[in-house]
């Protein structure tokens, strides 16, 4: 349970599995390094870049670069304030949908179907795609 209960609001942008996990990883922290998020998701750099761009285009996330002693800049990912609010609202919506669907087949839940719940693989294509380098 979040410390501050948000108003339920299902968010199509966040709901895609990879993006939901990215938000769940970034929500409890100030920022997380690109490679750490990539390793947790188990995807190629290009996949994380693509999914994260959707979040940044929506104003939900942001990146920053920090120089490392090795000279190579490290990319740090973070949720914006609106991203944190949207994620909290989406979590609340998921809880309500899960509670409503409890005990009945998901396909029969009009609220879930109406929310445009998408396939778990909808954003999981290209996982073995050629890695671009987001840190260039």
């Amino acid at each position: 349970m979040m410390a501050r209960r948000a108003a339920a609001r299902f968010d199509e942008i966040i709901h895609a599995p990879h993006r939901l996990r990215i938000c769940a990883l970034l929500a409890p922290v100030e920022s997380m390094e690109f490679g750490t998020v990539r390793d947790d998701l188990g995807v190629a750099d290009s996949v994380l870049s693509k999914q994260f761009k959707v979040l940044t285009d929506a104003g939900y996330a942001t990146t920053s670069k920090a120089a490392a002693p090795t000279g190579r800049a490290r990319t740090w990912l973070a949720l914006t304030r609106s991203g944190r609010k949207a994620f909290a609202g989406h979590l609340q919506a998921l809880r309500e949908l899960a509670a409503a669907a409890e005990g009945e087949p998901l396909a029969r839940s009009a609220s879930v179907a109406g929310a445009g719940v998408e396939s778990p693989d909808r954003d999981r294509g290209d996982e073995h795609g050629q890695a671009d380098d987001p840190q260039q």
Binding site: A24, A27, P28, V29, S31, R84, P120
Partner: protein
């Protein structure tokens, strides 16, 4: 009729994924063993030279060295863990521990600045005691904050911090 569509990503599965991600973050939030002792030692050194009313050049060098050291320490922490948290990420329990630590640091720092205000050094035993309190409090309470944060993240009780942007 054959249906090649993938099964829907239902809310229960999504919530389970969120819980899994939270556990992953909590497991990563393991502060390296050297972080709190080093931070405590830097604070202790700054307080010690202030409390003993050493020459201004010594105090300046130690303070600058401490500031640089803390910067390097933070960088090392970030490289080691791959993440960064600040006080806005604290939940209810970790916040209480953090405030307890902040109060101790303020009291100890204020006491160590008495010589600066009065021009008279504190007794050596008191200066050493202040430095020791800073060191021990940083190690003990720093680890308490970490432990509470891990539990709050796992349970979903972590605060919803405000982003800078």
């Amino acid at each position: 009729m054959e249906n090649n569509a993938s099964p829907p990503y239902d809310p229960a599965a999504a919530l389970a994924d969120v819980d899994s991600a939270r556990r992953s973050v909590a497991d990563r939030l393991i502060t390296p063993w050297w972080y709190h002792p080093t931070l405590g030692a830097i604070l202790a050194a700054i307080m010690l030279v202030a409390a003993l009313d050493l020459h201004d050049v010594v105090r300046l060098v130690v303070s600058l060295g401490g500031a640089i050291g803390i910067g390097l320490l933070v960088g090392a922490y970030q490289r080691t863990t791959g993440l960064w948290v600040d006080m806005r990420n604290l939940g209810p329990t970790s916040r209480r521990w953090w405030f307890a630590y902040a109060v101790i640091v303020m009291v100890v720092t204020g006491s160590s600045l008495i010589p600066t205000a009065s021009g008279r050094a504190l007794p050596v035993w008191l200066a050493v005691l202040l430095a020791a309190v800073a060191l021990v409090a940083t190690i003990v309470l720093g680890r308490r904050v970490d432990s509470a944060m891990r539990e709050e993240i796992r349970s979903g009780a972590a605060a919803l911090p405000k982003a800078r942007r």
